[in-house]
Subunit: 155 residues, 2 copies
Amino acid sequence: MKKRYYPYSEFIRDLNRLIKIIDKPFDTILLIARGGLSIAHILSEYYNIRAIYSINTIGYNNRDKLNKIEIFNLPNLKNSKRVLIVDDIVDSGDTLYAILKLLKKKYPNIIFYSASIFYKKTAKITPTWYINQTEDWIDFFWSVDLKDKNDFNDR
Amino acid sequence: MKKRYYPYSEFIRDLNRLIKIIDKPFDTILLIARGGLSIAHILSEYYNIRAIYSINTIGYNNRDKLNKIEIFNLPNLKNSKRVLIVDDIVDSGDTLYAILKLLKKKYPNIIFYSASIFYKKTAKITPTWYINQTEDWIDFFWSVDLKDKNDFNDR
């Protein structure tokens, strides 16, 4: 798999493209931790939305339970009508699929949208809005900038 | 109040200073939304911590209830032993103070630390670790970079 670095400057450029294609209103941002954290931060500031919640998942991949996703810390969405779920990348799509299934069952009257920066076409679900289709391994700035800085300092 | 822009490059430089002064272990990161989102993202990647939760607050400032803080979406911390609470700035300190008070009561056996990038010396509580003391109004990159980009495009 090709590996590429995704810097902050590209992130802002992509979010600028994302806000131009998001054509539905929403009152809540639900981020999938950890990947959706930075996206959620900037979008919540841009749209001035304070109802910003996180959800945690653990993916298992063992012989018995292939692609089992455990979801926890489900926020209370009783005051939400339209929720935008954000993540950095929709890869297999398993996580987003499982979260949507759970949330739609628990909150049948809420409309859910989803947005990501990257999307792999082999994913089992397509987010409502995404910016880049990729086959690559993405080294996001939030994963490497601080580590790289410290690698550098150690030299 | 003096106003200053806080760019991403300075943020990484400050987080690099922060990780050098954090001298206690922790197993959980609890972010105060929205300010703590980006910090939590990068620190959770750096420390490889997946137990990253968010907490929401609303601050009221009316005649009857001065500085009343409403806290909601308290995560379940039953598996946590040492929790690092992060926020961008400890200003009045009211939010951090109220959160710590609530969490220490609910989880008397958990050790709580706190970290912020900015701290005002008039705050009623000092975070365990902070980087900059300031009197200024900080325009964080996550609040302005996308808006500025779009202001620019509108010209």
